[in-house]
Symmetry: D2
Subunit: 342 residues, 4 copies
């Protein structure tokens, strides 16, 4: 009963972000405007062990609303710049050829970001192969949407590595939809890393990783969390309720739990920084409040899965969001790869 949509199901990669609290000197935050912020984390070899994440660069562009026209242009510029930086850091030259992979399932809107973005990518490799005169400032770029294992019967890893062996690109860019691990990131972050990705979790072995380690060329991954498990929605919301109740107690009458409209931005900043004592939590929510984070999540997960209601969901506006996000990502890639594209 768990996997109700067997044949068309999509494998889920969770998001690329590092949430762990790490020392501030490894994190750079850059505020573009009220709605857009970039966080850059460089995970050193030592830090890597501590965080249990691969060493490398993790960049997150956070934004409030990609459907806002002015913000959309700004997000695009940010992504272009971050990609240019990464290319430089990885010592990729203008003559190096690129293979771009759009992972995911075109027929499933929430999982279609990769293929849809690829439709708008400027592809040029065939011009180089055909020895056509190619304009100055145009790079050798190929692209493939390998599909998902449920539809191809083939591990995505196998399709990619056999093709890489054949056409020998100098580096890879991989675009993918991801599962969010918090409610505040869904369709509101673009995540970039040079540490590679795991395109399918079906079989669950290590060789599936696509990274410099496994295929010997730089791999830049671009991901957007487009779906989230219901259990995460519940877990995150209960945390916010704790903080909300605590906030109310401090600022208002304890018994007046619901108050009028608030300035959401300020309120949000306020309650996000609240830390509750164990006693406070217990008072507010009994046994629930006494569970540590891990246990609480496990409980919610178990309850929802037992009754088969732990749906993986996506915002109902997903069609329009995929449309805008694919424009942002394809434009930023086209501009950062080809100097001739403005």
């Amino acid at each position: 009963m768990k996997n109700r949509i067997d044949l068309k199901n999509f494998n889920i990669r969770t998001d690329l972000v590092i949430d762990n609290e790490i020392q501030e000197n490894n994190v750079k935050k850059k505020k573009i405007n009220d709605n857009i912020q970039i966080t850059t984390i460089n995970v050193s070899d030592e830090l890597s062990q501590e965080l249990k994440r691969k060493p490398g660069n993790y960049i997150t562009i956070e934004f409030t609303d990609v459907t806002n026209h002015e913000d959309k242009i700004e997000i695009e510029n940010c992504l272009e710049q971050e990609l240019r930086n990464l290319l430089k850091m990885k010592k990729i030259s203008d003559d190096d050829s690129c293979l771009i992979l759009g992972l995911g399932n075109r027929l499933s809107t929430a999982d279609s970001l990769g293929p849809i973005t690829l439709d708008k990518i400027l592809v040029t490799r065939h011009l180089f192969v055909l020895k056509t005169q190619v304009k100055e400032g145009i790079r050798n770029v190929a692209a493939l949407s390998p599909g998902v294992m449920a539809n191809t019967g083939i591990e995505t890893y196998d399709i990619i590595t056999s093709l890489v062996k054949k056409i020998t690109p100098n580096f890879l860019i991989v675009i993918d939809s991801l599962a969010s691990s918090t409610i505040d990131r869904i369709n509101r972050t673009i995540q970039i890393t040079d540490t590679g990705i795991h395109p399918g979790s079906g079989i669950g072995n290590n060789r599936q990783e696509i990274s410099m380690d496994t295929i010997g060329i730089p791999v830049i991954a671009i991901g957007v969390p487009t779906v989230v498990e219901s259990s995460i929605i519940v877990s995150d919301t209960i945390d916010y309720i704790f903080k909300h109740l605590s906030y109310i107690k401090q600022h208002y009458d304890a018994h007046k739990l619901i108050v009028g409209p608030r300035n959401s931005k300020k309120y949000l900043d306020n309650i996000q920084s609240l830390n509750l004592s164990e006693n406070e939590k217990k008072e507010i929510s009994g046994i629930l409040g006494t569970l540590d984070e891990e246990k609480k999540k496990e409980l919610i997960y178990e309850v929802l899965n037992s009754i088969d209601y732990n749906l993986i969901v996506t915002p109902k506006e997903i069609d329009f969001l995929i449309d805008k996000l694919s424009e942002v990502i394809s434009n930023a890639i086209n501009k950062s790869l080809h100097n001739a594209v403005k």
Copy 2:
């Protein structure tokens, strides 16, 4: 910040089901098999006041999984039969002409059930108008997808009533995506009623109702809840957690909150019927447990809206579900309207 997708937003009609506890003699439950059940409620004029719902028939076909091939055929048969019954009850004869309306937005997957179903409807009115020889057992049927106000600028009610006045059908069938008011109904119920619908909530006045009362002909509404507010996911899950914890206390050690896998069906039946005392609730979840249902919902709604995270979401498999649901509904309509269609 609330309405982030202004232009393409879709109006949401909540589901048509009656949840209130009502006397058993007004409710008929019919179990088709382990996965499918039909509930029929006739709301009399007296009952109407009590329930605050319009008098009429409310039929709900509940199922576990419409993508299961055998169940899909069974659901289709159930819907066909329920539609035939309603036609008979409303005294609609084989010669009466029908206008079918597919509400919603074709470009937004979760809201596209109406238009997509209409693509598969057998339309015949033009053959009658053209005085073509029409086969025995074929009814006069027209169909329209009026779109959504965000895309047309026109109230759906106005498009429908002006057309009804022009082509004067004998009865209407309206197909629509709905917002679920509980997590267990999303994409798992087809709801039918003869009490009419409110196609748009934008302006919020009464004349928008499409029903026998307002347009003078019978209106049969067919709806499927395809989306749900995050706050409902949270609220429903917290209820299940209460019940789960209480169940655990009764059956196991109170401190061992998480237990092994359970037979979900039996467990589900068990915990759904649990009723917790106030004291139990408080012990389990502190202040949260002391709130009555209404207050708890209000609190969750307020917290999520304050931080703009009360997303309306849809299961990630929605593309495949709409595909199957539109087949079920169109086939059932085609067969129940035209005796010549097998």
Copy 3:
């Protein structure tokens, strides 16, 4: 056997262009660049009788390739300007409300220009109805895709007129795919007229016309020929063969019918202006050459229809062309209707 695709067939409106030779003082030609040209014809009441076309303005924007980026922008500017001119001529003020109709069938690529264009139209009427504060320079605009009779069972004329009566716009814009009456216009012209259109030819009576005469408000029609009958391809090609052979005879050896590559533009201008004598035609093509234009067309039409090969066809690139053409038309409409849109 004629109508092989009965249910989904689309009604075909032929193009809006005037081909008849008319006096030069009624025709204005304006060359924008080597690839784009605008022809404006004003048909006076007297001329109307002679040409058997309704009196009014007929504007044709001809272009070589809408997928060329620079030309696309230019075509858009031309269309915007022509629409502004027509609005002024029809004395339509900035406060007048508009209803835009996208005719055709979204599910049939070659007939989808109307609905696809509408997806990109800025719709605002609901803001005015809701008494929202609307930005300066924004007009009251509504939009509807009424579908095609094969899918709705309803005459498009009936849907439109009943809606016009209800929401009382000050003028209409109608967008439609057309059938070309010559091979050189397919996807290479945008045609604009203020004389109205006939949205469906199914029943073939006069009341179907949508125009100032029938509904009492100005009607601006925008059409692009996207399909052509095979018989027209053949007929036009035979004409070009006549001219080609004649050209060859004059410029080369009569027996060397096939010559090397030519500068197509110059050659095209040359042979399009050729007029063959009856004798020349007969020598070149025997009995075929002796038929007058009308008879020849009738013969080809009859032969192809007898064997059911008179397919209505569209260029294989139609998906990409509809995409670009819908952008051009929607952008031009949005800018010409709303002064605030740049």
Copy 4:
């Protein structure tokens, strides 16, 4: 100017049919009903040289209308049976694994047959890899849509051969849209061969062939001609005009070229078998009539290309035809490959 749609253009494979007149003992014709016929040609090694086609089996299923429900089921049965026969002839056992390739461009309706058919293919290879218990009568099947070179920058041949090397299937099935070489075959034939295909003609070298010779495993190609060059429409029509005029001369008055409606089927059989003398042709169509077949085609091709009007076209109903054809082909493949599928 020739390639107006550069980036999205699709490579065209011409159809697989053998038209040359060959000895009757190599050709088997089987009439299924009035609307469906199967032609099977076995080209021996000797015959191969004469016909300039690779030795092997060429099977053509001809039909009048795939949108006719009864005929559609019959065509599906025919294709299933022909595929079963080929599997047996190639000594492919029930345990042999298959890779199915859907060539063409999903975004271009007329070229989308391969990818759209693949959406409906039962894929099972991952179940075998995951060592899931697989039902009796289910074969190991993988599937890939490699896209087109204009969108990937990669020769389709390279994608296919590198993947074949990696996952080592026992045989291939390749599905593709084709260009018709006569007007009577467009969307009215399914062509099957075991001689392999040339997936891209862009570079034009031999190594692009996908066949037993180049990759060492059996290759079954299934193709449907969905497009045709305008010059072929003209050329074929002129032939039919010759025959029509000759027919008229024999049966009616020579000067009455156009006659009333005819029983198209009988008439078609009649005129298709007509052979005109050189004198007749000259009388009917002057110089045009004196050209041999090859010269005539060359002339038409040259005239249309000179003026850039040699469009490659597809019937306007192509969306609905691709829908039906993809159902027929996917159903027939699923049934012939898996004994458990009925």
